[in-house]
Symmetry: C2
Subunit: 648 residues, 2 copies
């Protein structure tokens, strides 16, 4: 990661990554005296560095970072006063969508507000989190779960006014984000209180996660909407920094009315083949993952060439790039992909069960339902980023005889639509809620996306049975049970991380409510939990423990809120030590239900609960699992503690 | 409840209640041939009967029932075809606000779609629930938690279209209800899908729970808003049935665009002194409770006089009224009111702690904060029915140094804003969430308002400590602990039912995290739980059990998601039987945490968990507690079962 001078070339040819080091940025900012040109060059430099960070991390949102880059560059260099410094009355900026964090980090590093070395630590433990967190300097709010930003700005503005101050508050939102009801819930109160210090910038890049905003859930008359809610509206080309500046100045002059800038931008702006316009109505390919090395190299080449052309024309020296090694990531060799297996099984059943209808909230590919949409588009309903609407719509479908299968990430489905799920439950209809990206890994996106409290959040909904499968086969059994066997509603919880599994459920295995299956026999301690992350790490812990002569059984219980007391007692009665595992907070996860079952049945053992006890850390999967004691080593530590006490 | 002929008088003078019996309604409907006049008379008859039902139940929403009465009378008698009959392609009607259930019930009884005897069973076990439930004939959806109706209609319309049908779907909403973001989340998808079969009627009566909509959170340009979201808009006088009919016909002719009727109505319409216009900007007094007997008598007199004048003018016989006894309700003699004590203590602290700011979601009086608003209006923020906005606004206030104290009903606060509470928690700021109306009683409003899963819903939010006090003194200690002692956030859970308490916490009692206090000593069994409903019924159960020679201790542990294992083990180790009590689902309530603590500490006892296992029943408080085994008799039964097993 040394910052060698590479001014003679701007690309590493030997599998290394490149970025623009701080001394080069300082020089460019010093040498280019025209503010407009300086902002344009700085934005492109930050694009190179954001791309570097995303390549280094292995994931991150390119499209959204690039579309907002020109806007935030102008804001931070020319408009906001002492933004986010914490000084009384200072201006405030934050992104409500939060996906564009790499852009902001790159800019804050360029402006020397973040440590230069942090450029190498995106999505790493102790580094820069995947979505913004106030523990990072100059980050004003935690975002990443969409639609909360305007309400937060309202609270900030009210707090400032209590102190007699009016620092400007600028909030960036996505355009897909406008599908969230909370946005509209907040707009009217801001207008009613005449909070003119609030400016919202809509990064209107026309694309959301799955495809175009228009194809997912068209926004309609966006300017009219804001006006009807009492806001002053301006519309500009979001890549024309002069126009952006004028609109911002314009709105700043209105003190008694909040303002919104609809900034027409291009997703992936700055690299021709990453620009949204290039892909028509199709899926946008640079939304959330790292690009291929080939695409990366071509992108940096294009950005650097443009910067250098401008520098050359102004008589400035060419860009000097620094080099960093391309990180090596071990990929699983033959991983199971539970979500794809689930989607395949659902599709198979839907072919002959005409009442099955699939609902999605703009997370098609992450929920395994692309094949369903392709084959049965007439029974596929895309709801956009509108979880509350989606869940209540499912309620309406179920009341009229359909079997709705509702999809989103676990972090959003059971929490943003929590009350709607309960309301549906009181109608005693049958609905399947499929929640993916469950648990503490992937660890890169950070706590907004790490779902570690959904068992708790939905576990008490009456009649709702929650299941997390541990392998593809159990995933297929689970969805089949939900469709064919369960008379009421089911919550299917899935880990998305592809994993090589060291175990398999027995060929004769079938699902029985509240019961599980022994994956690995043992006599000294029982490791009991659910899902592929826990079972894999428990298995590896058992391997380690065996070397110390500790015989550990690994027991899989996929039922997250239904425990068969007698079965648990029978399975566990002989173990002197029991370790419950939760890919979730321990407070109200599966482990506490198992412990309570042991109390009710009078089984006595030394019990340890492994799971989360604090806010999930952001980092690589290995870092995060180790941090929370959920890797093999952490589980083995808990086992040794329990066993030494049990035999002591 | 005999339906004697009282045609000679229209009011009971001797403390009885009166209603219009079915034979009279039949006669009037038969004799009045003009559809407009017939609808107007029928609406007033239903007002008398809705008022009777509310008086009989002791609670119910008069204002909202009366404002929507003319609209639904015309809809059900002249517009909708076979509505809610379940026949293929039939029309559908439901109220999204749900508060106006008494109006709809009175109408359905008048139209002989509901059993005539059900008029005497509002808010009673097995009768007509406080808010709509699909178990009641001709009720199409469960509502009462606001903002879900348009999304449900979307789902219903899509389901109909899958079956090739287009029955009309009419949804009534409140105007305050438009503050809910979910409304706006749903509008665009309905327009995008061109669901012209959906018609929304906004009962724009200008008042919400606390005061006028304009004073709480002004709606702004309501017609422009719907138009900007792609809807066809009509505006009519909601008491002019001819105009209502014309607007409905108008919208029915538009097949490819959903329509909304903004119906300007008067809250409490039909009884001069109950009409919203009469109270200016002040609190509306007939929102949710039963009126005084004097007001009731005057209201019936006015309604009956108007009906009789019309009947007389048309040469029809006068109204015949039936009589029913005035129910006798035992009031507590010296009840504790925890919410008022809480509000008083908060105000005392706020006088010298200038960072305290109070947020409310239109439930001022039910949250004990009327005195705060009166004394410190500059630190009171009324958010309207916008829980997500309120909670994220609190996040913004906290980020800028304030101490926000957020208020709503427990059924809404932790569930509608569940993800927003978590997002705030990840910022590690300090916020107090005060959730009232917790638990299964009052039982009259029904499951939309009975909060019996909030411990589960918020119990795993990191750093959030949940407490439910059992008496006024503990309520004061709890809010003081949250403000003065706790470094992080607190969820304060309060029962609103005023109760005579048979116990008191000791004078020396102070709050210690995870620990509680013995309210009543005993040796055979420990009853352990929290809050005034559980502790009072446990105490009464202990009284009963003492007669059988069973010595029952009653232990109060106010900590809902923090259990001190060692303390629990010390307190409970000597008991052969332990009964945990939850005013909440047993699945993930306090009881399971206590049972798990016993397992972890190796305490062996016969354990029973008392709490909810199904959807909460609607009924009188006594009926509901008995139904769920949470009354003294139910608790005593659980104790006897545990004790016989423990000694067996």
């Amino acid at each position: 990661m040394g910052e060698k001078d590479h001014s003679d070339r701007f690309l590493a040819g030997d599998g290394a990554l490149t970025y623009v080091p701080l001394d080069t940025i300082r020089r460019v900012r010093r040498e280019v005296d025209d503010a407009i040109v300086r902002a344009e060059i700085l934005a492109d430099i930050c694009r190179i560095n954001a791309l570097y960070m995303i390549m280094n991390a292995g994931s991150g949102h390119i499209g959204s970072s690039f579309s907002s880059m020109d806007l935030i560059t102008w804001l931070w260099t020319e408009v906001l006063a002492g933004a986010n410094s914490g000084a009384p009355g200072c201006d405030t900026y934050f992104s409500s969508k939060g996906h564009d964090a790499p852009a902001l980090y790159a800019l804050l590093i360029a402006l020397e507000k973040l440590d230069a070395d942090s450029i190498h630590r995106l999505r790493r433990l102790g580094g820069l989190p995947g979505h913004p967190d106030v523990e990072t300097p100059f980050i004003a709010a935690n975002t990443g779960s969409l639609g909360m930003g305007i309400a937060k700005a309202y609270g900030m503005a009210r707090a400032q006014r209590f102190a007699g101050r009016r620092g400007r508050i600028v909030v960036m939102t996505g355009d897909g984000e406008l599908q969230e009801g909370q946005i509209w819930e907040s707009l009217q109160p801001v207008a009613n209180e005449q909070l003119g210090e609030i400016t919202v910038v809509v990064d209107h890049n026309k694309y959301q996660s799955d495809s175009t905003v228009a194809a997912v859930s068209d926004l309609g008359a966006i300017e009219d909407k804001f006006r009807a809610f009492g806001w002053a509206v301006r519309r500009v080309n979001g890549h024309d920094v002069r126009a952006i500046g004028a609109a911002l100045a314009d709105l700043a002059a209105i003190s008694d009315q909040p303002g919104v800038i609809i900034a027409d931008t291009i997703k992936g702006r700055g690299v021709s083949f990453m620009e949204g316009l290039a892909c028509g109505d199709q899926t946008y390919h640079f939304h959330a993952g790292a690009p291929s090395l080939k695409d990366y190299v071509a992108a940096v080449r294009e950005l650097a060439a443009r910067i250098n052309a401008t520098l050359t024309a102004r008589g400035c020296a060419l860009l000097a790039l620094a080099e960093a090694p391309l990180p090596i990531r071990a990929a699983p060799s033959n991983p199971e992909r539970l979500v794809l297996a689930y989607g395949d099984e659902l599709l198979q059943m839907a072919r002959h069960r005409k009442e099955i209808v699939v609902l999605d909230a703009d997370l098609l590919s992450d929920c395994g339902i692309e094949p369903f949409k392709a084959e049965l588009p007439e029974r596929f309903i895309e709801c956009g980023i509108a979880e509350q609407h989606m869940v209540s719509a499912a309620g309406g479908l179920a009341l009229k005889g359909m079997l709705p299968v509702v999809h989103s990430f676990a972090c959003f489905l059971g929490t943003r639509a929590n009350e709607q799920i309960y309301n549906n439950a009181t109608e005693r209809t049958k609905i399947i809620y499929t929640a993916t990206l469950a648990g503490v890994v992937p660890g890169g996106p950070g706590h907004s996306h790490q779902s570690v409290r959904d068992i708790s959040a939905i576990g008490s909904v009456p009649g709702l049975t929650a299941i997390e499968p541990c392998c593809e086969r159990e995933a297929r059994l689970a969805v089949r049970w939900a469709v064919d066997t369960n008379a009421f509603s089911t919550y299917l919880r899935f880990v998305n991380v592809p994993l090589d599994l060291p175990y398999a459920v027995p060929a004769s295995y079938s699902l029985q409510v509240g019961r599980g299956v022994t994956l690995r026999g043992g006599t000294d301690v029982a490791l009991i939990g659910y899902g592929p992350v826990l079972m894999t790490n428990a298995w590896r812990a058992a391997d380690d423990l065996a070397k110390d002569g500790i015989s550990a059984a690994v027991i899989n219980v996929p039922w997250l809120n239904r425990i068969d007391d007698e079965w648990v007692a029978r399975m566990l009665a002989s173990f002197p030590a029991i370790v419950t595992l939760d890919n979730h907070y321990v407070t109200l996860g599966q482990g506490i239900m198992i412990a309570a079952a042991l109390a009710r049945t009078g089984v006595r053992a030394e019990i340890r609960s492994v799971g989360l006890t604090d806010i999930p850390a952001c980092g690589s999967n290995a870092e995060v699992l180790a941090h929370h004691g959920l890797d093999a080593a952490g589980i083995a530590r808990a086992v040794r503690s329990a066993c030494s006490r049990a035999s002591g």
